[in-house]
């Protein structure tokens, strides 16, 4: 059924595609040449079309064109960045020198705002935009959220993982103003949709609305900022086909490494001794046997007696591959305009492939995107727009064990690279049997090659129909727009299981592979007659039985439906826009509703309903003094009746000083733009609010959690048992935000544009569970969220760009920089807590850490220090070299109360992007440097402490540990080694360190092949490029970790290198 649907969609697209090629008429040949006004140089690639038809051509490398047309037809010359020119063809018309003027960008540029567009000049909101073409240069990242990193000031995007098909980044705008959900509202063509899987080739602009002036129209959903993604549409021009092909190579940005095994063993003994664990020491004979084996090369991943497996090297390949292709066709006539696009992405794996005939246990993602946007001018006053778009995604991965329940829980697999033993068993023994750890786990090769695979299939369809009617017959400037949108998405999952592997059970598991754990007695070498040495096997443990060797049963499920969502949205808007002499007036009244039905696997959830009433009025006097007012009466069904609707409004003022005569006379032509703008308004946020917080519920108590049984000589089980659900708060409502923004825009010499924004936000009514509920109410019951919290947030953003040329070298420099700072104002802190323990006054997400100021130098140090309540921290278990924590509250005891708030949080407070690019004779480049600063994270514990999970595996810098003979340092050094690191590994100023970084995020070098070479193949333009992404990173963090990554249990962050071409004809 689904396939049928896809086919239909495709056929439909093709139909419109072919419609657009109409037949040429037999007419006179017109020739000419097009020049740039200022440089007086020929313009290449100018579109020359006959008005009202799709007939057209483009100018060649000398700016020349020839076209057949009849007298009295109109020729339209259009070129990006230039004002279109039209000529009515008369017999005496001379086209030898067609001059085109560069359009005055700043003034005519439009920006997409909530429910409409405005000219940049008249806009008073804080809005930044990036173009689809800029996103094409970011090194073929596969998700939009990652692509926008560094492009726009104040838009913070953090990728925690590069897992194919699941690499979406977290986005927040202007820092955080709530400890609830701080993610922005993201709309694709006006509706909340999964934007990550939109093909970048389909994107016209991404507009980020930041202040209240821009976001108030979104009412209860707008407080975290709004991102509007607008897709490309056709234009009245000749049909243009563009083809992009990209081939990419990828590598992990960081890789693990460890100390060699003999060193690890020696340090293990030291650690055991430090822990007073005399029972588990490794014998010297074992260590020397290993030393001999390693120096003699007698070890390796398949060596039975001296196994050494570098799991990373064994399972991760040197390079992974990625391909994407897109072909799109756009063009149109007066009556009909179209843009259609088809894209394909194949995001491959950095893991080695263990594909076999039954399943493909690799990480990869294949995605098909399609889009057709049509505009039909039905009458002179009626425009019908139709968008049909969608994607199919196929995400494949090895069969994860759903240990903690979540179907995509990566925590089980990736941690093995950090925790696994390297030297306790080989991948396979010489007799062909798999190796395993002493509990039957840990063989990653077995896992990757034998466990099966899982495929998540997802489908999304976006369908929009819009009708715009000009109502000028009622009154000039009035128009009406109605739209209906439908989004459907659904997901299926297929699993192929080879059975129970590595001791982990699985629903569909039938059987298991045989694994052996073998141990040898290295203390008694046996000299064989041939002079070689062998050892007695002392353990030979076999795990699990199988039915028949080599014929493993394969279980699994095929295309199990795992959820769907259907959104229906309709909107009706009245627009008014009219000029009365020096007065420009516009207005908007809009109404919309949304109904989303969804399910996640089992059972239908209650539909999500939304309703908005929106209005806007703008007024401009002589284009100098601007005033705008926005209002929204919006509702959310998350709250109790009577608490659902709220009115949000914003007021903004703008002054375009550069339009004042006295400024003009002072600044002359140097100052092309000077604008001040200020906005004030209230916006809401219901994103983090739980649904039905206003309802008290009772639940069945699961019987496995405990039974009520009675009876003297036999069991009478009393059930069902019931449990009180979360308590209700009938007054719960949205978060309220009061935002102010002051912006200054300066344009100089038509080359430099700077805009500076200062913002301030007061967020109140943040939903939270009260902190002052005494134990006698908070025990045994879940408390409802109430609107209590308050946060203030402020900061500034700078966006500057410089465009210029030196001779034939055009270049641009774009800089963006944003700083934000937030503080919790109120979070219901108990009144009598000491200030350092109160949350008020500290940033959202602040961490409390012990302050480690050094290491104990002697037993005297230990016994003279405060006694500790930390496990392993009693005086008689500490040893010299352990970390010394400050008794922060001075009560003589080291306890969790001695953790003090750390100044930095684990998301960046300061971000910046610097883009440098240019072109010379068709050779172009574009580089983006990105920095995230003021960000601290806990280091990965398994990269900090030796012997992860007790395995004999030490860190590369294990020998840098504290020893009594080393000079005393001013701060803490690597503590003494322990097998049990409970005490030293507490979150402290030693483990919580800066993860700030500077990264060459993207670099592209491209070359436009001269069109004279392309003529013969009928290609108008062709650009070849190489680019890369995450190319290098400067950071003080452990080089084995990418500073952006989420931690150890995720697919690694990758670097990409691509080659490709962009073709137009």
């Amino acid at each position: 059924m689904q396939k049928m649907k896809n086919k239909l969609t495709f056929a439909f697209m093709c139909f419109f595609l072919f419609c657009s090629f109409s037949l040429k008429a037999q007419q006179k040949e017109w020739t000419g040449q097009v020049f740039d006004e200022k440089l007086n140089e020929p313009l290449i690639g100018v579109s020359v079309t006959i008005k009202g038809t799709t007939i057209g051509t483009i100018t060649d490398v000398n700016g020349k064109f020839s076209i057949r047309a009849a007298n009295n037809q109109t020729l339209v010359f259009s070129y990006i960045g230039y004002t279109s020119t039209e000529f009515i063809l008369t017999p005496d018309l001379n086209l030898a020198r067609v001059i085109m003027n560069e359009s005055l960008k700043v003034l005519d540029e439009v920006v997409v705002v909530g429910y409409g567009v405005q000219t940049k000049a008249s806009s008073v909101g804080s809005i930044t935009t990036t173009k689809g073409e800029d996103l094409l240069k970011v090194g073929s990242v596969t998700s939009v959220s990652e692509a926008i990193q560094g492009q726009m000031p104040g838009v913070i995007s953090i990728s925690y993982t590069s897992k194919p098909g699941a690499d979406a980044a977290d986005i927040f705008i202007r820092g955080k103003s709530t400890w609830g959900n701080a993610s922005p509202l993201i709309l694709v063509d006006g509706l909340e949709r999964d934007f990550n899987d939109v093909d970048v080739n389909e994107i016209e602009t991404i507009s980020v609305l930041k202040d209240a002036s821009a976001t108030a129209v979104y009412g209860v959903k707008g407080a975290n900022g709004v991102i509007l993604i607008t897709t490309k549409r056709g234009a009245n021009k000749k049909t243009e086909v563009s083809l992009t092909a990209n081939f990419g190579f990828k590598q992990p940005s960081a890789a693990p490494s460890w100390a060699d095994y003999p060193t690890s063993m020696k340090m293990f003994n030291e650690a055991k001794a430090n822990d007073k664990g005399w029972d588990g020491l490794i014998r010297e004979s074992t260590i020397s046997a290993w030393e001999n084996a390693i120096s003699g090369g007698n070890y390796g991943p398949y060596n039975e007696i001296f196994p050494q497996v570098d799991w990373w090297a064994e399972t991760v390949s040197d390079v992974g591959y990625q391909q994407n292709y897109n072909i799109n066709v756009s063009g149109g006539t007066e009556k009909m305009k179209y843009f259609t696009s088809v894209g394909y992405l194949d995001d491959g794996d950095i893991y080695k492939s263990f594909k076999n005939d039954k399943f493909d246990p690799s990480f990869n993602y294949k995605r098909y995107n399609w889009r057709s946007n049509f505009d039909f001018q039905l009458t002179n006053t009626t425009l019908l727009s139709l968008n049909i778009a969608g994607k199919m995604g196929y995400r494949n991965q090895p069969a994860f064990r759903a240990v903690t329940g979540a179907p995509d829980d990566d925590s089980w697999f990736f941690k093995f690279y950090y925790e696994n033993s390297y030297n306790s068993f080989p991948i396979k023994y010489s007799d062909g049997e798999w190796g395993a750890g002493s509990t039957g786990e840990g063989n990653l090769m077995l896992f990757l090659s034998e466990t099966g695979s899982k495929m998540n299939k997802s489908y999304q369809g976006f369908y929009d129909i819009k009708l715009e009617q000009d109502l000028k017959f009622i009154t000039e400037g009035l128009s009406m727009k109605g739209s209906l949108s439908y989004t459907s998405s659904s997901a299926w999952e297929s699993t192929i299981m080879r059975g129970m592997v590595m001791g982990m059970d699985e629903l569909n598991a039938i059987n298991t592979n045989i694994r052996y754990y073998r141990e040898y007695d290295y203390s008694n070498p046996i000299l064989l007659p041939d002079g070689t040495v062998t050892y007695n096997r002392i353990t030979n443990q076999r795990f699990q039985n199988e039915i028949s060797v080599g014929n493993y049963p394969v279980g699994g499920s095929y295309d199990v439906f795992s959820g769907y969502s259907r959104k229906l949205y309709y909107e009706l808007a009245l627009n008014y826009k009219r000029n009365f002499g020096d007065h420009k007036v516009s207005g908007l009244v809009l109404f919309n509703r949304k109904n989303e039905e969804y399910t996640q696997g089992s059972g239908l959830d209650y539909p999500v309903l939304e309703e908005d009433w929106v209005s806007r009025a703008t007024y401009a006097y002589k284009d100098k003094y601007l005033f705008e007012m926005n209002g929204a009466y919006t509702g959310s069904e998350k709250f109790a009746p009577g608490k659902r609707f709220g009115f949000f409004s914003s007021y903004s003022l703008g002054w375009r000083a550069s339009e004042e005569a006295w400024v003009k006379s002072l600044a002359g032509k140097n100052l092309s733009n000077l604008k001040f703008r200020y906005s004030y308004g209230t916006v809401g946020n219901d994103k983090g609010a739980p649904r039905f917080n206003y309802i008290q519920s009772f639940e069945n108590y699961p019987t496995y959690a405990g039974l009520a049984t009675f009876g003297l000589y036999q069991n009478y089980v009393w059930s069902p048992l019931y449990k009180e659900g979360k308590l209700a708060d009938v007054n719960a409502t949205w978060e309220k935000s009061i935002k102010q923004n002051l912006g200054i825009e300066i344009g100089l010499w038509n080359k430099l544009n700077i805009s500076v924004d200062l913002f301030d936000e007061q967020r109140s009514q943040i939903l939270m569970t009260r902190n002052t509920i005494p134990s006698w109410l908070s025990s045994g019951v879940s408390l409802p969220a109430v609107n209590l919290g308050e946060v203030k947030n402020h900061g500034f953003e700078i966006d500057a760009n410089w465009n210029d040329k030196i001779g034939k070298f055009n270049y641009y420099i774009k800089l963006n920089f944003a700083v934000s700072e937030n503080r919790i104002v109120y979070r219901d802190d108990p009144y009598a807590l000491p200030d350092y323990m109160k949350q008020a006054g500290k940033p959202i997400g602040y961490q409390e850490k012990y302050i480690a100021t050094g290491n104990f130098q002697s037993l005297d140090d230990i016994y003279n220090s405060a006694q500790s309540q930390i496990p392993g921290g009693l005086h008689n278990t500490l040893i010299p070299g352990d970390l010394y924590y400050i008794d922060y509250n001075g009560d003589g005891i080291i306890s969790p109360n001695d953790r003090s708030p750390h100044a930095y949080v684990n998301y960046p407070m300061t971000t910046g992007g610097l883009t440098i690019g240019g072109d010379w004779n068709g050779i172009g480049f574009n580089a983006l440097f990105y920095t995230a600063m003021d960000v601290y994270k806990e280091q990965i514990a398994n990269y900090l402490w030796d012997f992860p999970t007790g395995n004999i595996k030490a860190q590369p810098n294990t020998l840098d540990r504290w020893t009594s003979d080393k000079p005393i340092q001013s701060g803490p050094v690597r503590p003494s080694v322990h097998v049990n690191n409970t005490y030293n590994s507490l979150g402290s100023s030693y483990t919580y360190v800066s993860h700030a970084y500077l990264r060459l995020k993207n670099l592209e070098i491209n070359y436009a092949i001269p069109s004279k070479w392309l003529k013969f193949v009928n290609v108008a333009r062709c650009q070849v490029y190489v680019n890369g992404n995450n190319i290098f990173t400067i950071s003080s963090v452990d080089s084995r970790r990418d500073p952006e990554t989420g931690g150890q249990n995720v697919y690694p962050i990758i670097k990409r290198y691509n080659v490709g071409f962009r073709l137009g004809f």
């Binding site: 008290q696 039974l707 009520a708 009675f710 036999q714 019931y722 134990s775 006698w776 309540q869």
Partner: protein
């Protein structure tokens, strides 16, 4: 113009067909419905309250504070036990600063599965039942009394759990919601206790004397009577006479003691006529604690107990009581255990030459420190394993001996193991809740007996009576009007059942000695049944019990006259060596501290609560 009108009409129609705003959102789930789940009938309301029995809200003391595999017994913060796990939470409790102790940790904490947190959860459940009983749609009078009787009883039980730890607390007789005024002031202990006793009077009124078979295990009328007499004895005790401002010892409240004695007498009278409940016989003594067989869920001696305790006997009981090599577990969950102290051993009386049992400090006992385990109270051999004692066999039938003597396998193991190497053994193992077959080294027979949590059993009521009667009259032999026995005769019931006969007259006639005698009897009879810690606190005898820098003592049994080398003794094969001769030395267990002062008689209220509420008065000294 025509168009214009048409369009205006069209727009008007659109506005009209659009339903009024807001009502569109009302299609979602609405409130009110889900309460009906539990207010349907008797079964649903009972199912709501029965979570108390199924969900660890009634705390199973054999698995209390399941932190670290259950090996934490409240006895190890009193003088009953020493705890041999390096990182056991007791060590922070015994260090004395309870405010700094994590709130989900162990006995003094108020979060997680601590008794305090569970008590609050329980109070919430029963308060809903009591408040909303009239909302249940279908309910017969009998069903109503079944529900209310249990609810009142459980409210008293949970409230008692709170006030015996914190002292007086606010009266929690309402179902609280976050929007209520939660800043409720505390009452004194006596006010709190009197309110609680009104609940017990209600429970006595509503509860059946014996439940139908399928309900047995729920509290009955006897449970309520017994809890009432226990609570009244507590309310008469020295600690409970304090207000909220200070802590001092002004002795018993004699009048309250008299009332407690009368309440205990009423309980005993009811037991005597009850068809099932009784004081079990001397021969049945061991099976009070180890219920035989798989189909035995209670004993006649149990008055109030947690019938539905579902604990993993194999893992948790083993790690509670047994050291290597009796259990075959390794790592953090296997190695440590709770070891009885010399302090407790010294409380067991010894048979003197006249056939009567005397405390070992009494010259008449003829106690010889170099033959310390001879002729002791039979309950000694019921409760405690001493060094070298024969204890079960291995699978082949080979006799095994307790290797806790100096140089033996057990001390060596404790001192070298990563999880116990900071601790010192006492030399004793706990036998009361253990049987030789239940061990991995042997038959692994964990199902042979059942051990459950008993809150109150018949013997305790006699001991409660003895104490109350004595403290009311100052005499062991005076009979309070309305009672049928004296303190001495009640005490002798328990002594005779245990097999140690009547209390010698020289002790019974000396009030100071008699007080020691009933307290000693209580410590021995109720050893490790979750009483001693509360008893020494309500008696306010920290100074008497915890003497000196190292108040907890152990025994060093040095083997002599045997053919084994030290290495042999240390080895795991050492458990098969029969050693009979030892030199005994009482030693300080230096790793055990009991750093308690006056403030430790009451637990501190959680710092968060005190910091959040203006009216919540913290206990003195915290």
């Amino acid at each position: 113009m025509k168009y214009k009108i048409k369009f205006i009409l069209f727009l008007l129609t659109l506005v009209l067909i659009t339903p009024g705003c807001e009502s569109y959102l009302d299609k979602s789930i609405d409130d009110g419905a889900s309460e009906q789940i539990i207010y349907k009938n008797f079964t649903t309301m009972l199912g709501f309250m029965d979570r108390i029995y199924g969900d660890s809200i009634l705390v199973n003391i054999h698995a209390i504070n399941r932190y670290r595999n259950a090996r934490s017994h409240p006895g190890s913060i009193s003088d009953e036990l020493a705890q041999l796990a390096n990182d056991a939470p007791e060590h922070f409790v015994t260090a004395g600063n309870w405010l700094e102790t994590s709130r989900d940790r162990y006995e003094v904490g108020s979060k997680g599965i601590t008794s305090i947190s569970r008590a609050y959860s329980g109070l919430r459940i029963v308060n809903r039942v009591i408040n909303d009983i009239d909302k249940v749609q279908v309910l017969s009078p009998l069903e109503r009394s079944y529900l209310l009787g249990q609810a009142y009883f459980l409210r008293a039980h949970f409230y008692f759990e709170l006030i015996k730890r914190y002292g007086g607390m606010p009266i929690f007789d309402k179902l609280l919601s976050p929007s209520d005024n939660l800043d409720i002031p505390r009452e004194t202990y006596l006010v709190s206790s009197d309110w609680m006793i009104t609940d017990l009077d209600n429970a006595i009124k509503y509860l059946p004397s014996q439940w139908p078979d399928e309900h047995i295990g729920r509290p009955n009328k006897l449970s309520a009577l017994a809890l009432k007499s226990m609570a009244m004895l507590y309310a008469a005790s020295p600690l409970m006479q304090n207000g909220l401002d200070k802590i001092e010892n002004n002795g018993y409240n004699a009048e309250r003691a008299r009332q407690a004695a009368i309440a205990a007498q009423a309980t005993i009278d009811s037991i005597n006529i009850h068809p099932y409940h009784k004081l079990m016989a001397t021969e049945e003594y061991r099976s009070i604690f180890l219920m035989p067989g798989a189909n035995h869920f209670a004993q006649p001696e149990y008055l109030w107990y947690l019938r539905s305790a579902a604990i993993n006997q194999s893992a948790s009981m083993r790690s509670f009581w047994i050291t290597q090599p009796y259990e075959n577990k390794t790592g953090s969950e296997g190695t440590p255990y709770s070891a009885p102290t010399q302090n407790m051993v010294d409380l067991f009386e010894k048979k003197g030459s006249d056939g009567l049992y005397y405390p070992i400090t009494d010259p008449n006992s003829g106690y010889n420190p170099q033959d310390p385990y001879k002729d002791r109270d039979p309950r000694f051999s019921n409760n405690i394993l001493y060094p070298g004692e024969a204890w079960g066999t291995d699978l082949s039938g080979k006799q095994v001996y307790v290797p806790t003597y100096q140089g033996g396998y057990s001390p060596d193991f404790i001192s070298t193991n990563l999880f116990t190497n900071a601790r010192q053994q006492t030399g004793y193992l706990f036998k009361k809740y253990w049987w030789p077959e239940a061990n991995n080294t042997w038959q692994n027979d964990f199902a042979k007996y059942r051990i459950i949590t008993v809150f109150i059993r018949v013997a305790q009521v006699y001991l409660d009576f003895a104490e109350a009667s004595f403290e009311a009259t100052g005499s062991a032999t005076t009979v309070i009007p309305g009672c049928s026995m004296s303190a001495l005769s009640a005490l002798n019931v328990i002594r005779n059942r245990a097999g140690i006969g009547d209390l010698p007259a020289s002790i019974a006639n000396d009030p100071a000695k008699f007080r020691q005698a009933y307290r000693r009897e209580r410590a021995i009879e109720l050893m490790c049944e979750n009483h001693r810690w509360w008893d020494i606190r309500r008696w306010m005898i920290f100074d008497e019990v915890f003497v000196g820098q190292h108040p907890i003592k152990g025994v060093k049994a040095i083997p002599k006259n045997h053919p084994y080398t030290p290495i042999q003794l240390k080895s795991s094969a050492g458990i098969f060596y029969k050693l009979t001769e030892f030199d005994y030395e009482v030693v300080d267990v230096v790793t055990e501290v009991r750093n308690y002062s006056l403030r430790n008689y009451w637990y501190p209220l959680p710092m968060d609560d005190v910091a959040a509420l203006h009216n919540l008065k913290q206990n003195p000294g915290w």
